[in-house]
């Protein structure tokens, strides 16, 4: 190692883990319809442990809202409704109020599988990642974009352990630009639409969590950039 001290890097470890945690929750929430296992975990206190609760008002509100929703939630009584809320908003029913793909917001024609999809796919490929649903699901699906952030966050923790400074910095740069150029470019509109269209406090709150956390992560990544730059 040259200019960076081992200590400088080890200090980032906690942040990197928390980011991984946050992205893990978010990707699981938005990638597909809810599963009973994930909801049960969230209900068992996980959502209250979402990092940086006090750092952003929206995030805080969102956590409260999801937490309140889950207080009275039971799998038997409420799961079908929760499941339906996802399907209705992001997949079906009759008229989908909230498209869940970047190109639906960014592309002037509002289509899927567009130039934006290709850009995102290329970024995944540069990190040796490929969609399990290649060709059948567009890569700019919110869940996949969050999954990408999750994978890179995970990778960062490994790189710190390996003290691979060069790759570490490069990956932080990638994450930073992906966040700014992609996720933050459209999720504010997406979250706004969810807050209008969701029937459950769960998704209304989750949209706020997403919104709030991405803003926090923007700052985190700037800090990490400064910290990992050689």
């Amino acid at each position: 190692m040259n200019q960076l001290s081992v200590n400088d890097l080890t200090e980032t470890q906690d942040l990197l883990e928390l980011r991984t945690f946050a992205y893990d929750i978010l990707r699981r929430v938005f990638l597909a319809e809810p599963t009973k296992e994930v909801v049960t975990q969230l209900q068992n206190g996980i959502i209250d442990s979402f990092p940086f609760k006090d750092e952003n008002m929206k995030l805080n509100e969102g956590i409260e809202q999801v937490s309140n929703y889950l207080k009275t939630f039971t799998i038997d009584k409420n799961f079908e409704q929760l499941h339906w809320d996802y399907t209705r908003m992001f997949i079906g029913p009759y008229q989908v109020p909230v498209p869940i793909w970047e190109s639906a917001y960014v592309n002037k024609d509002g289509l899927l599988f567009q130039e934006e999809t290709l850009q995102v796919r290329r970024l995944y490929l540069k990190n040796n990642l490929l969609s399990m649903q290649f060709g059948r699901e567009a890569e700019d699906h919110l869940g996949l974009e969050l999954d990408f952030m999750y994978h890179l966050s995970n990778l960062l923790t490994d790189l710190v352990k390996e003290e691979n400074v060069e790759q570490l910095y490069k990956t932080v740069v990638d994450q930073n630009s992906f966040l700014k150029e992609h996720l933050l470019n459209w999720t504010p509109q997406f979250c706004e639409k969810v807050s209008i269209s969701a029937d459950t406090g769960f998704y209304k709150g989750m949209a706020k969590i997403l919104n709030g956390f991405l803003l926090i992560d923007k700052i985190c990544l700037e800090e990490l950039l400064a910290r990992t730059k050689q």
């Binding site: 929750i25 975990q41 996980i46 024609d109 899927l112 040796n128 490929l130």
Partner: protein, 867 residues
Amino acid sequence: MSNFIKKAMEQKLSRKAFLGWSAALTTAAVVPSYGLKQIDSKAAAEQLEEEGKWVTASCWHNCGGRCLNKAFVVGGIVTKQKTDDTHKDSPDYPQQRGCARGRSQRHQVFGADRIKYPMKRKHWEPGGGKKELRGRDEWVRISWDEALDLVAEELKRVKSKYGNESILGTSRLINHYGGGLVRWGSSSSGAWGKPQEHMTGFFSWSANDRMDWRNAKLIVMWGSNPAWSSAGSPTYNLLQAKKAGAKFIFVDPQISPSMKTLGDQYIPCRPGTDAALLIGMAYHMIENNLQDQDFLNRCTVGFDKDHMPEGADPNENFKDYVLGTYDGIAKTPEWASEICGTNPAVIRDFAQQIATTKPMIFTSSFAPARTYRGQQFCQAFLTVGWMTGNVGKSGAGVWTNNYASNQSYGGKTLVRGGGRGLPPVFNPLFPSVTYGAYDGYRFGKPKNTDFHGMAYTETYDAILNNEYHATVRGKVPCDIRMIWLIRDGSGYNYLNQSSGIMKGIKAFRKVDAVFTNDIALSTISKYADIVLPATTEWEKEGMIKSGNPEAIIVTKKVIEPLFEARTEEWMDRELAKRIGLNPDEVYPINEKQQLFNSLAGAQVIKADGNDYEALVTITAKDIKNWGVDGKPQKGKISLEELVEKGSFQVPRSPNDNFTVIQGEAFVKDPIANPLTTKSGKLEIHCQSLSDDIAAYGFTTIPPIAKYEPPVEGVEDTYKDWNKKIKGDYPFQLYTIHYARRSHSVFDNVPQLREAFPQEFVMNKRDANELGLKDGDTVLIESRHGKVIRPLFVTETMMPGVVTLGEGAWVEIDEETGIDKAGATNTLCGTHLSGQGEEPWNTTNVRVEKYKGKALLPDAEWQQRIIF
């Protein structure tokens, strides 16, 4: 010290929770089945290097054109489109360039509203469940297995309990399974089928080759608007005739885009009254002895009492009907004018021009025949055209263009694809008919007694009242339980595209099950119970598409099926297994082999203009590469080059050997070269036509052209026709092909909605009288339904006549029953006429300012997005 790095160290609780969460989910083995996976760097690098290529992409619609459409594909993503640039454009050898719709093909294939997964209406269950919720229920995404099982079980149940006759709809699979009821009748060609068959032996469905149109001095376009109805090259071809000196006269209720492009003179005529206008013109010609008597004597029967076909009443000749010899009513231009709204002086001048300008082409579209008792227009059009003697000569002709793709072409087919090799499967319930969107189209044997099915416009009454007209058998009982529309993807969407949508919805809400496959939630799928996600043609192996007779288009698979979309063939095969059929018997050859067969069998005309030869050179290596069965052959272009280029077009020049003068030999010597009509001549008096129409059991027509008021024609807009007091529905609506879509296909594409806003068009003076102004949202009501639309007022429309483009996706407001989209079939009634033609252009309406909320522009509507 940065904040979050430090803060993270303080978030002990969160870190602890994280560990717990990870452990818990690992134990539960909840690995997301969606998401990203690690691949090796070499594979990733290879994918990154992919640069993309142009692929000929199908533009497969029933739009009247057939153009070359190419997609630039990078790793399954289409980033741009282009059209024909395979050769330099010239009037003789034009490029086959796409229109606004073809260039929006990407928007259809990749629209966010694609049906992505199998879906089921929430409250459907075998037997129907809550049937009344069709069209307004919630949807549930289901797995393919679940969907196929449900569909197969219900099909088996309905068949075993009620028999095949309770299934409405056919397909390759259904025909293998015992068949289903066929909807039959005539949509596109209106009433033209039977008059062509009996009066001309289909002689007037062919035209002189397009090169010869440049020799005409006058071209009459009756009810034709190729600029919108036949996008592609037809208008361009006609422009060449205009440049060569032809005068164009358009007969239409409105000054159409084609009139604006090509026209020299406009003749207004009310919908459904064309026969009256023509008969008035005939009067002027007879009065002034302008008819080509020699041609009439030699080549036709029935014009006057001295030239009647065998066995006919001599008094029932056309000339004496026009003169009013026996009925006391002279069919003067003044008589005609009261009906058709055209000034008598204009009628006389028009008649004078067509009778004295030679050579003249007298051509009509199908539209004026899409009226109640529409045969009378066909009879009058042919008769008056023949009176001018413009048959069998250069620059001359009397014909109705044989479907849109032929408008301005005529002549021989210069290049054509071969058969795909899939054996036909006939419907056991409807002998000689196979299956598909056009299964019962122009069903022509009303005297048959062994068919099962009803006219297009009687479908809903048959479902609701359990009986239908079976032509000569009279009414027969039925019990329709299932509507089947899992079929090849053609955009067949009859709930939207057949008359009487409101009645249709009621009927759909009566049956036990409605199953469809679709690429988006078209109307018929919106009212279905299970909808299976279908691939577009871009996601299939490819095919040869024909359109105009000079070119074929060879398309290729552009992308793999999106989401969980599957081909119809795959669905049929999966269903076959579940209902006890052998999928390999239903589809003995695969799609790739089918494409190969059609390429191997493709033929092109030789330079001599008579014989044909194989088009494609195929080598043993090609056959191996394709993995198909076949034999090497020699042709004019290699398989690889043809597929790469995407089209084959025969170059033309005015002096080539391909020019055809339709009927030349017949006119020179009608005895030696008889037609296939009963008399061997063109039949102005045609008893077999009259008899055949009577056999259908709906309406009757006399053997010669006469005008009788149609149901919902101009007469029915009056409470008192003689005193000219208007009634409850004072306007005549006619429906047009609208440039925003191909029938109903493409109506979901926002950029096309923006370009073509589906306005209701009305004359300015009519609007003023009703206190309406441009842009108002108006309520349009007929005896059959009501719609709202933004108003467009213009002086280019005849007073008393209004129009709306056909094909908008009906959007019923469940509270008011108003269709907000303006689907014309909400307004058109289910009248039974002639050979079962849809009488769309005879519909009466009233118009008023809409008191509810004004409409948003269609382009700003939400798409129908489901799974």
